[in-house]
């Protein structure tokens, strides 16, 4: 296969060779068949450093087709360095359409966030995962953690949460919050904020997780039961924000803190930039959006 762009005709469609894609697709199929189970795969070297999303890029490259429309987000934003360079990478190597609108995309590659707009059937969310093993920091031996997954020995996950409560008086883990999938495998939902954990449960879209350095792929097929671990007397809670988004006045969304000057003033804005833009386009105004937009008009 050749891409439309003749300058890079030496590359196969979506960069990876077809044999590699087949190998990754087999791993993905296995991962979908066993939700939450970490499937090893022969991760390739990608033209980017580990930690920049090599796992996610390989998964995306393996599943993307000519009719797909790709959206890439980093911390919820479409316009950060990582998101732009991965989007450009796929524009160059596939020539397919890209978008920043969640509802138009068929494949969304993400680092850290799940879009605020609920995902629909037919969409695929690809996560970039740095450390796929939820028990890694308590049990450094891979042989042992595999055995613990196999025998469903997950007491250690609660040791981690116990430590949190003992030190902070509450479960202070705010990202990479462990979940149990379909009552079987405990899974690390990659460094997404725990705010997004409930969105994983019973999601209509397919969710794929790729860890390039650790060479693991795992998946949540549509409508999978995903439960965040907790204690009976310390139930799971999502982060709450005191104020709505300063630009679009959205509530019940995940906000980023932005420092405005060296006097300590700050604003909280939507981390999902597409969601924020669409709301502002629809006429919603936050407390700091007013004059800037009037000036533009």
């Amino acid at each position: 296969m050749k891409t439309e762009n003749s300058e890079i005709a030496t590359y196969n469609f979506a960069y990876l060779d077809e044999q590699t894609k087949r190998m990754i697709r087999r791993a993905i199929l296995k991962a979908i068949a066993i939700p939450g189970y970490q499937v090893p795969f022969a991760s390739r070297e990608m033209p980017m450093p580990y930690g920049w999303g090599t796992g996610g890029v390989q998964v995306t490259a393996s599943i993307i087709g000519r009719t797909d429309c790709l959206k890439v987000i980093d911390q919820g934003a479409d316009d950060t360095t990582n998101a732009i360079s991965i989007r450009k990478f796929f524009e160059k190597t596939t020539g397919i359409a890209t978008t920043t609108h969640t509802c138009e995309a068929t494949v969304i590659q993400t680092r850290h966030r799940i879009p605020e707009v609920p995902l629909k059937a037919g969409q695929t969310l690809v996560y970039q995962v740095p450390i796929p093993e939820p028990m890694r920091f308590l049990e450094p031996r891979e042989t042992e953690t595999r055995k613990m997954h196999a025998l469903e020995e997950y007491g250690l996950m609660h040791v981690k949460l116990y430590e949190d409560i003992a030190r902070n008086g509450r479960i202070a883990t705010t990202y990479a919050y462990p979940v149990k999938v379909e009552g079987r495998y405990v899974m690390d939902p990659s460094p997404t904020p725990k705010f997004d954990n409930p969105k994983m449960n019973d999601c209509e879209a397919l969710q794929l997780f790729g860890a390039g350095r650790e060479k693991r792929i795992y998946a949540l097929p549509p409508h999978t039961k995903v439960v965040s671990l907790d204690f009976e007397d310390h139930p799971f809670e999502v982060n709450k924000f005191e104020k709505p988004c300063a630009l679009c006045a959205a509530e019940q969304v995940y906000l980023d803190e932005v420092i405005l000057d060296d006097q300590g003033s700050r604003m909280f804005v939507c981390s999902d930039t597409d969601h924020c833009e669409e709301r502002r386009a629809a006429g919603h105004r936050g407390e700091l959006a007013g004059h800037a937009l009037e000036a533009a008009q």
């Binding site: 308590l138 469903e152 250690l156 003992a166």
Partner: protein
């Protein structure tokens, strides 16, 4: 515990407490472990009854630890069987169990106190979590209850309860060892393996630890298999003892009988080499 000096009975299978169940808790027959052509232990058979403390003594390299590791299923023996009587009375072969069952057994019915507490503790989580880990592993999901039980166990092993949130790496050697004991006993095991639990501690700390162990063993009615090279530890804690040399059991009997009237030449040597202060 060691009040059977008058006993002339050499039938070593007598349990010291009221024998509710005549069957042994653990029985080992023909156990051998070879490391290539080297012998770890050879043809060991013994029985342990509920509430009984058995000491395995012998010099370094005599196969004590190999034997303990085989019995506790950390090592797979070359030959022989180990059977254990479960809480529900069922007797099962430890090595015929699935790995899941065996690990479940080790978390609930058994405990293992390592010589070096670092091997038996999680050094980077707090004392409370160390004690609570087994509870969480068997499905406890109530933070308050887990913490209360951890607190009461710390108290029981004489660790100040205000140190519950400190990590064991901030503890002294003796405290670490006591924490390891609490961590093992919290799920109420029936059989505890101890590998030189007092090794590396100074004598006064040793004495306190032994005193504590003796109280706990008596209170909880634990069966214990303790490996030690220290005959004083065996004398204080155990009801029965076996003496090993070059991988074989060379003497077997009630502790006081073996120590006061050793039969095998090697045991005589061992007993006579204790320093008298």
């Amino acid at each position: 515990m060691t009040s059977q000096t008058q006993s002339e009975v050499l039938d070593t299978s007598i349990a010291p407490n009221e024998g509710r169940d005549e069957r042994p808790l653990l029985s080992i027959s023909g156990l051998s472990k070879l490391y290539g052509t080297r012998i770890g232990c050879r043809d060991v058979s013994l029985e342990v009854h509920a509430g009984e403390v058995l000491a395995i003594v012998g010099e370094s390299g005599s196969g004590k630890t190999t034997l303990l590791n085989c019995i506790s299923s950390s090592l797979t023996p070359t030959a022989g069987t180990v059977t254990y009587q479960m809480r529900d009375g069922r007797v099962s072969d430890v090595f015929a169990m699935s790995e899941a069952e065996r690990r479940q057994l080790m978390r609930t019915e058994w405990g293992f106190v390592h010589q070096n507490p670092v091997d038996g503790l999680r050094m980077t989580v707090s004392a409370g979590a160390n004690v609570g880990e087994r509870l969480m592993a068997v499905g406890d999901r109530h933070y308050g209850q887990i913490r209360n039980r951890a607190t009461s166990w710390l108290d029981r092993v004489e660790i100040d309860t205000d140190r519950i949130d400190d990590q064991p790496r901030e503890f002294s050697g003796g405290m670490r060892q006591r924490l390891q004991i609490a961590r093992n006993l919290v799920t109420g095991p029936r059989l505890v393996f101890m590998d030189e639990p007092t090794g590396g501690l100074d004598v006064s700390v040793q004495a306190r630890l032994l005193d504590l162990l003796r109280t706990l063993v008596a209170d909880l009615g634990l069966a214990v298999i303790i490996v030690t090279h220290d005959l004083a530890v065996a004398r204080l804690l155990s009801d029965r003892m076996i003496v090993m040399r070059q991988g074989r059991v060379i003497e077997n009997g009630l502790t006081d009988r073996v120590l006061d009237d050793p039969q095998a030449p090697y045991t005589q040597l061992l007993v006579s080499s204790i320093l008298q202060v």
